[in-house]
């Protein structure tokens, strides 16, 4: 038996012993997802037990080194763990922008002390982070951000406003892009970390066309950010004024995350599902539209598989996630247009005596953000034109 087979059977046994049956059920609502942090509470004992078992084993961040709270698994071992968890439909023990975004940035750019402190806190679910990138005026042109940190010797005074800060109202700390040099567009941004309870920080949830959202506006009004935390831990990641390098690195991560998440994992023809749901043959022209869509969707599913296979062995073009993000989000928007069309007037119901949810129209409207968040479709096309097709001036 190879080492990997050995690891698989151990893992299977460990999961059997530690993953409670309730944690093998599909996620049904927000409370089923555990985000950790200061203010976190568990929905039930099973959630708590599962999280703690994983935390103690390093399985909240299996591939991180053990000294930072991970399990130090090799890529092959991490894949086996994912497969085995997926086999029993195990829920993720901990969701966290710390794991997905700040962690990779710290592993790449952090000082040893930063890594020891923050990565362990993240891995142990003790801190919940939010991301302060976008500003009302910046949009796709992220680097035009205006939030300014005035240098006051041992601290900055930060003033400005962020937008689209997911869960800012629930986060403990923020990783945040702050302009610290107004004379250099790219080399005048610092990637700062600070506490959301610092005086002068306030948040306001954003109501979307699809209804309530995790997004917030975040305001900084004379927020004092020390340059060092305690024993010489710098408040910024990377060097001062070189935060753009960190941000760029993370944007790549984000796009891969989003490109994987949208529209790519469906292998069943949507026309069949919608026809079943309608309980009768659909309008013939709509059926034809669904058929043409299903061709695109099933082809994209193959592309998703191919992309992941190529990523694994480093064969994918580094800008390919942009293509995946573009095609996947545009496809997902079309999918929901067709769901609405097949649903007819019933799909228009926003609230009624039976339901005040309007799940279908809200989901449909929510997809409209897919091609905006994480880089607009237009930016994706620019990147493909420049980096893959190598068109001039792109």
């Amino acid at each position: 038996m190879s080492d990997l087979d050995q690891f698989r059977s151990e893992t299977r046994a460990w999961l059997e012993a530690n993953c409670p049956p309730e944690m093998r059920e599909p996620v049904r609502d927000d409370a089923d997802v555990y985000w950790g942090g200061r203010k976190a509470t568990f929905k039930n004992d099973a959630q708590k037990a599962w999280f703690e078992a994983c935390r103690d084993k390093g399985y909240t961040v299996p591939a991180w080194p053990t000294e930072y709270g991970g399990a130090g698994l090799s890529p092959a071992e991490a894949k086996v763990l994912r497969e085995e968890m997926s086999r029993i439909n195990a829920r993720s023990p901990l969701s966290s922008f710390g794991i997905w975004m700040l962690g990779p940035a710290l592993l790449q750019f952090g000082t040893e002390q930063q890594k020891l402190k923050y990565l362990n806190e993240i891995a142990r679910g003790e801190i919940r982070w939010c991301q302060g990138y976008s500003e009302p005026g910046s949009g796709s042109d992220l680097v035009s951000l205006q939030t300014y940190g005035e240098d006051k010797g041992d601290h900055w005074i930060v003033n400005g406003q962020k937008i689209w800060t997911s869960y800012a109202d629930k986060a403990d700390w923020i990783f945040c892009l702050v302009r610290t040099d107004k004379n250099d567009k790219y080399r005048g941004i610092t990637f700062m970390l600070f506490d959301m309870e610092t005086p002068g920080v306030s948040t306001k949830p954003i109501l979307l066309i699809s209804g309530n959202s995790p997004f917030c506006e975040t305001f900084f009004d004379d927020v004092k950010v020390p340059k060092q935390y305690g024993d010489g831990i710098p408040a910024q990641v990377g060097e001062v004024n070189r935060g753009w390098d960190v941000a760029k690195y993370l944007l790549g991560h984000e796009r891969e995350m989003i490109s994987g998440a949208d529209g790519g994992d469906r292998t069943a023809a949507i026309g069949a599902i919608l026809t079943r749901a309608a309980g009768a043959p659909l309008d013939p022209v709509l059926r034809a539209e669904l058929a043409m869509f299903d061709v695109d969707a099933l082809a994209y599913a193959a592309m998703g598989e191919k992309f992941l296979d190529e990523v694994k062995v480093g064969k994918a073009h580094p800008a390919q996630p942009n293509m995946m993000k573009y095609a996947g989000t545009e496809l997902n928007k079309r999918r929901h247009e067709l769901i609405m069309a097949a649903g007819g007037s019933a799909a228009l119901e926003w609230d009624s005596s039976e339901s005040s949810e309007g799940a279908k129209p809200r989901a449909w409207l929510r997809t409209k953000a897919n091609s905006i968040e994480g880089g607009t479709s237009e930016v994706m096309l620019n990147v493909i034109a420049k980096r893959i097709l190598e068109l001039p001036g792109a």
Binding site: L207, L208, A341, S345, L348, E349, S353, E378
Partner: protein, 379 residues
């Protein structure tokens, strides 16, 4: 007749544009009533004002006290309604129900039209039984009962159904559910016993009803037109609704496009106005082209309908489908080009997307009407 507005029509368009732009504006009407959770989804005061402007009786013959105008003129009002997303019962009452009542006897007209002209009454039209528009299938049954009829069955997606003082109901008086003939239209008053409303708020914050009829007794006077001969009246009502919804759709498209083009001239990214980016310019120019073409199709359909032309019903489907395509494109491009703020409830562009979606379904979507164009053309 040339395919543009004559001087009188142009004047009406100015009047309607000014009125809807001021009194029917999004902040004053749609947002106001939506945020109040208003059970009607529109304001009765505005409806009264529309009556004072003469709009409510635009299709009512002068002999009955109306303006005696045509679908071109009704469409002028609807385009401005669409452009301002003005919630009102105009389309169901003054266009569709008024078209039905125009085929009714003197008693019916005398009973219902004065309320419409005064802006005191609201009417609805109940055709569909199911989530997708399908006027070829009418199962809702009206059986003879004494001097009148007894109505049983259900109707779905009755826009303004719960607010209506009278509902035009298409019911079956003979034959089986997909027969072309055997349909009768009834004017059912709101207080008819045995009628159940399940009123739902739609995505555009308008209200629609699922209505059930359980032994609803109607007297013979409630019949609009001939017993068993309602298909012809229904077809007129449908064409009026199609062309009316198409006109409103073109208004939605133009409102959304204008707002978006304005935004392209204001918003900066990467040191440029985003309207300077050629990719967006070309998409905006393509959108302009689609909206112009849709508008031409709608005016053509209105004129044919007013002229009672043979191909009016075909062109009504072309107009509804093309307006749906153009408006759908306009709101999608609108939200995308607005970027993140286009997704926020605070900005109006999302409201256009919601209204477009509801209007797209109303009286049949683009797929239904494309299919109807094919069928009517013999393929």
């Amino acid at each position: 007749m040339p395919l543009y507005h004559d001087d009188d029509q142009a004047m009406l368009a100015d009047t309607a544009a000014q009125f809807m732009g001021e009194e029917g504006a999004i902040a004053k009407q749609l947002r106001h009533w939506r945020d109040k959770g208003c059970k009607d989804g529109f304001g009765h005061a505005l409806w009264k004002q529309m009556a004072e402007m003469g709009f409510t009786g635009i299709l009512v013959p002068e002999a009955d006290g109306g303006l005696g105008m045509g679908h071109v003129e009704a469409g002028i009002v609807l385009e401005e309604i669409g452009r301002n997303l003005t919630p009102s019962p105009f389309l169901t009452s003054s266009v569709m129900a008024a078209t039905a009542l125009g085929q009714g006897g003197d008693d019916l007209r005398a009973r219902y039209l004065p309320g419409l002209l005064a802006g005191d009454s609201v009417f609805a039209v109940a055709i569909d039984e199911g989530a997708k528009h399908n006027p070829d299938r009418i199962a809702c049954k009206a059986e003879k009962s004494g001097n009148g009829f007894r109505l049983n069955g259900k109707k779905d997606f009755v826009v303004q159904g719960a607010s209506a003082d009278m509902i035009v109901v298409a019911a079956r008086t003979s034959g089986s559910e997909t027969d072309a003939e055997g349909i009768t239209l009834f004017a059912v008053p709101r207080d008819a016993a045995g009628m159940g409303h399940n009123s739902v708020r739609l995505v555009d914050s308008s209200m629609a009803s699922h209505i059930t009829f359980e032994n609803v007794e109607l007297d013979g006077d409630a019949v609009i037109g001939e017993v068993d001969g309602g298909r012809a009246v229904l077809n007129r009502v449908l064409d009026a609704g199609r062309v009316g919804a198409a006109a409103e759709g073109v208004g939605v498209a133009r409102g959304s496009m204008d707002m978006t083009v304005d935004y392209l001239k204001q918003r900066k990214q990467f040191g440029k106005l985003i309207g300077e980016f050629q990719a967006l310019q070309h998409r905006a120019a393509h959108l302009y082209s689609e909206v112009e073409i849709a508008r031409a199709a709608v005016i053509k359909a209105q004129q044919l309908l007013d002229a009672g032309a043979e191909n009016a019903s075909l062109m009504a489907s072309v107009a509804k489908a093309k307006a749906g395509k153009a408006a759908g494109l306009a709101v999608k491009e609108g939200v995308q080009m607005h970027g993140g703020i286009g997704m926020t409830d605070e900005y109006d562009i999302g409201l256009y997307m919601k209204r477009d979606r509801a209007l797209a379904e109303f009286m049949g979507d683009v797929y239904y009407h494309a299919g109807r164009v094919a069928e009517m053309s013999g393929y």
